[in-house]
């Protein structure tokens, strides 16, 4: 169960999630401090550890559009937040899968800040309103990367197999 801590509109860009001016910081261990940096109040709550892991960000269509910067994923992953969006931009989705960010495509999701959501692979149940929303499944080809624990272990396995 996770509480919705932020509700966002459509076309949230990676500049919004992780501003370009902090892109010289690349390591996943260092990027979480700049998460949604220009949303000052939210960023401050994150930095002060006032938002528990597993909390949910709900977004409308095309979440993560724009730049390919992977910091936009590692910065959210660092706080172990869950993204439930009506749709997700291609590169962001791929980066999220590669880094193991918990991301759910839920085309009909309706939830407000403060609502409690029960998020599973197949559906999202809004415990506050009692409504259930069906998720769009990730293609099977990508599931293999998730099952391997991300693209680094997945590639490592393929590399070792290829060079036996």
């Amino acid at each position: 169960m996770g509480k919705v801590v932020l509700k966002l509109g459509a076309d949230i860009s990676t500049d919004d999630i992780y501003p370009g001016r902090y892109m010289a910081t690349v390591l996943p261990t260092e990027t979480p401090q700049f998460c949604f940096f220009d949303r000052t109040e939210f960023n401050t709550q994150l930095k002060n550890k006032q938002i528990p892991q597993g909390s949910v960000i709900v977004a409308d269509l095309n979440f993560g559009c724009g730049s390919s910067r992977e910091q936009a994923v590692s910065t959210i992953k660092g706080h172990e937040l869950v993204i439930v969006a009506r749709s997700i931009a291609r590169i962001f989705l791929q980066n999220a899968i590669n880094l193991g960010l918990n991301i759910i495509i839920c085309p009909e999701i309706e939830a407000e800040v403060g609502h409690e959501l029960e998020v599973s692979k197949d559906k999202v149940v809004n415990k506050t309103t009692g409504k259930t929303f069906v998720n769009e499944q990730l293609p099977a080809a990508r599931q293999a990367i998730i099952d391997a624990g991300g693209l680094i272990p997945y590639t490592r396995k393929l590399m070792l197999e290829a060079t036996k």
Partner: protein, 430 residues
């Protein structure tokens, strides 16, 4: 069943006779490009080999390109150290397609790759930059990926789990009126498709207007295809592609064009006639918030930027030069010009553009991404407004969430720099 150009490219690269939209393939990569974020790719690459007892060596250094452009020269010690680490890596592994911060061969990656003949029709190109879509202008399937995915490409030489994207065919007809450019076409198309209209899809450009368009113009429309969410834009290779690669990029070896089948299957077809097109402006804070210039005329601007991987090429600078020569940049307005590469910078000097820009009061900066992504070389103050030929106007994009960025063609940018307000270049007399 016929194949689109991207389906043909992916079938060849995956070593299968045919593919269709939705299939999953693992194509061999012909070119893998990174810029400053190569520092993160290196970190992830090292991680893949961690604990395996194997030495981390890229699969084929001749297929890796690294170009410094996002933060050149370095704006601070962190970037300078990233640059240094990448230089060490490049030297260690013998990566030859490396373009450092130099006045003879440096520039923006999406100009350096084409002008050096690194991209060929039929190639599979990946880049750790969303505007890698640009290289579809040369008939390649070229798309942006993240740093970890690039580390995987460096290891295996293939792009893993690529779903063959459906293709939207865009048919462009008519002649561009004076002062109307490929930038107006692509802004108009993005407005029509919306920022997510082509998500997970390819945009394949066709029609008489595209046949007559220079590679420079094709780079503009493929570059910004990603702003409609597209995996890639692509112009199937033709006579102009061959001319560009032979005459401008100096390619001497064999070039094989890949063209779509006549009965290729498209998800949808969009027709655009440019003969009635007016200057287009993308308004804050999304690129699909596109309006005709008549709705914005007279809006005061504090900064004009001409440059970027979208519009920093010689014909863009020429369009600006023809409007600005003999005039002055308005008193309350700053005009910053970034030639897309050192080669273009030198050509602009030979033609007298740079001198004329300076006389007018513009600042001609070094080749690179400049303020487009909000790091340095032209951040905006609170409540300031910029008019730019760049490709994104997201909130905070030019370094300040309390500012606004409007996007336009080079002609609109130059005419507006003279008046200090958004100005329609067709009206002249400014």
């Amino acid at each position: 069943m016929g194949m689109t150009v991207v389906e043909k490219i992916l079938a060849r690269a995956a070593g299968v006779p045919a593919v269709k939209a939705g299939d999953v393939v693992e194509p061999k990569v012909d070119l893998a490009m990174s810029h400053e974020n190569g520092a993160l790719v290196m970190n992830q690459f090292k991680d893949i080999y961690e604990g395996t007892g194997r030495e981390a060596r890229p699969w084929d250094p001749s297929k890796i390109a690294i170009i410094f452009d996002h933060r050149v020269p370095a704006e601070g010690p962190k970037t300078a150290t990233n640059h240094k680490k990448i230089r060490d890596f490049v030297g260690k592994h013998g990566i030859k397609k490396f373009h450092d911060i130099r006045g003879d061969r440096g520039g923006i990656c999406h100009q350096i790759l084409p002008e050096n003949g690194y991209v060929r029709p039929g190639y599979v190109v990946v880049g750790t930059d969303s505007h890698t879509t640009s290289h579809g202008a040369l008939g390649a399937f070229s798309f942006g990926i993240g740093a970890t995915e690039m580390a995987s490409v460096w290891t295996l030489g293939v792009a893993l789990n690529v779903e063959v994207p459906p293709t939207i065919k865009v048919n462009v007809t008519g002649a561009f009126p004076k002062f109307i450019a490929p930038k107006d076409l692509i802004l108009h198309l993005i407005g029509k498709l919306t920022a997510q209209g082509a998500n997970f899809r390819v945009i394949e450009f066709h029609g008489e207007t595209i046949a007559k368009m220079s590679t420079s113009g094709r780079l503009v429309i493929c570059n910004m295809s990603v702003e409609a969410g597209a995996t890639s834009g692509i112009v199937p290779a033709d006579a102009e592609t061959m001319r560009y690669l032979r005459d401008e990029a100096g390619v001497t070896d064999k070039i094989e064009a890949v063209t779509p089948d006549a009965d290729a299957v498209y998800e949808r077809v969009v027709d655009i006639d440019v003969s009635a097109l007016v200057p287009q402006i993308a308004c804050p804070h999304t690129v699909d918030n596109v309006k005709p210039i008549s709705e914005l005329e007279g809006k005061k601007i504090q900064q004009v930027v001409i440059g970027s991987c979208t519009n920093g090429r010689l014909d863009d600078l020429q369009a600006a030069y023809e409007i600005i020569k003999g005039k002055k940049v308005a008193e309350h307005t700053r005009m910053l010009i970034f030639p897309a590469s050192s080669r273009i910078y030198a050509q602009a000097m030979e033609r007298g553009y740079v001198q004329e820009f300076m006389k007018a009061g513009a600042v001609v900066m070094n080749s690179g991404c400049g303020p487009c992504l909000g790091i340095h070389q032209g951040a905006l103050g609170d409540d300031e407004v910029a008019l730019a030929t760049t490709n994104r106007n997201f909130k905070g994009r030019m370094g300040n969430p309390k500012s606004e960025v409007y996007l336009c063609s080079p002609a609109v940018a130059a005419a507006s720099a003279v008046t200090g307000v958004i100005t329609d270049p067709r009206k002249g007399g400014n």
